[in-house]
Subunit: 253 residues, 2 copies
């Protein structure tokens, strides 16, 4: 679903002490960010918060008020430190219920896996009024309540939930991008970048330096929702680099 | 420097459109988180914000007010999209100056690299009253202003700046941890985990499931600032798992 006339935005709240302690390297920010781009939705802000109810409630309510969509990852398993559902129900001002459809999914999933214990039944709890996001890997579903999408912390399960949501959210024109790589110090082209961006008002140019093979280089990413302006801006940057005696590598280095 | 009688906290603001677009996978959250643990400082919250002044100002001022330290990564290079210094000066309510020491460092660094251009001189700009964080790799220093530590976005350069700061910040008792791995579904031990954490009030137990070798497992991370209680809680969990017929793997799986 696309409505090119307006910009749709999203925020992400990553919930988990394991990220803040440095024990686990987050992979969900990058995968949610890349997925949103394809849906035509801009990720505006990410917050990583601890497994603490007030921190989750504050982040969820602040960010869902100023974005079209809010996504969360983490904290929906069966153990005592999984408090995401309770915190989001509190944020939404609704009670937590055992969702009948989620209970049926879990009963089915655990039939051949030792049965639905009290701990496992925790994964059928949702804020009242929620619908479910299918989880093809481990039964326990994600949850959609108002404009909040509650997903797993394990990246492979989150990926399945994103896959289930693909194409179901209203988005705008996707942000298009072109990348040019160049073996040049970014300070040598700072003025060129600034002037080129200024000349193409519907484009943004990002500059990402790197060091490799004993040399200094940078990738320049030009972004726009307008394909024609994107192409023109990219071409202008290629020519500007050439005028400085530098070859641009399409697609980046 | 350690003051075991109180808890020191920090927050991190990751600045950059390239993270929010999914183009670049952030590595600074994990490295800053792990480094802070060693300093005896707890990372309480992370925000990833766009290259937009209001977003940076809001995040910096909110988080520095409620934490001992605030770290930022990204946006301190020579190009037009590097607006971190200006935004943080605005957040602190001070003007931006060209820092004489930073200018001298850059003049020296660029003597054999084409000279100090106007774009490169941008990297000598700091909020008024700031001191510098050495950067042994590319000259351009990080910046320390009030309780804000402004660091590079490129992870290897950030690592060097963290190294330069090691041992210079006042921290409390480091949060100690033990990890136990176990081939068990976390829903089977949810009650054991809950009861064990309740019995050891100065310990927190996190449960991190995984799937591998066709089996279900989990790592349990026990955290405490009290070494004795940490050992007792860990031992209690080992015995609790054994009572359920499960062997714990010290150090995790």
């Amino acid at each position: 679903m696309s409505n090119a006339s307006r910009i749709y935005t999203a925020a992400l709240v990553v919930i988990g002490d394991e990220i803040l302690s440095g024990r686990t390297h987050d992979k969900n920010i990058a995968q949610v960010a890349a997925w949103l781009q394809i849906q035509g939705i801009r990720l505006k802000e990410v917050r990583v918060v601890a497994d603490e109810t007030p921190a989750i409630v504050e982040a969820v309510n602040t960010l869902r008020a100023r974005n079209d969509y809010l996504f969360t990852t983490g904290g929906i398993g069966p153990t005592h430190d999984d408090i995401t559902v309770d915190a989001i129900a509190e944020a939404l001002g609704v009670p937590v219920i055992v969702h009948p459809e989620a209970r049926a999914i879990l009963e089915d999933y655990y039939t051949t896996r030792g049965g639905l214990t009290e701990a496992r039944l925790r994964m059928a709890r949702t804020p009242e009024g929620a619908s479910l996001i299918p989880n093809r890997y481990t039964g326990a579903p994600g949850i959609h309540a108002e404009n909040v999408f509650i997903m797993a912390g394990v990246p492979s399960i989150t990926a399945g939930m994103l896959d289930a949501l693909t194409g179901t959210l209203e988005g705008g024109a996707p942000l298009l991008s072109e990348t040019l790589g160049c073996w040049v110090g970014e300070s040598e082209v700072a003025e060129l970048l600034r002037a080129t961006e200024k000349a193409y008002v519907n484009c943004q140019i990002g500059s990402y330096p790197f060091w490799g093979e004993g040399r200094t280089g940078a990738n320049f990413v030009i972004r726009s929702t307008d394909a024609g302006e994107l192409a023109a801006c990219t071409q202008a940057l290629v020519e500007g680099l050439r005028a400085l005696g530098r070859d641009a590598v399409p697609g980046g280095i």
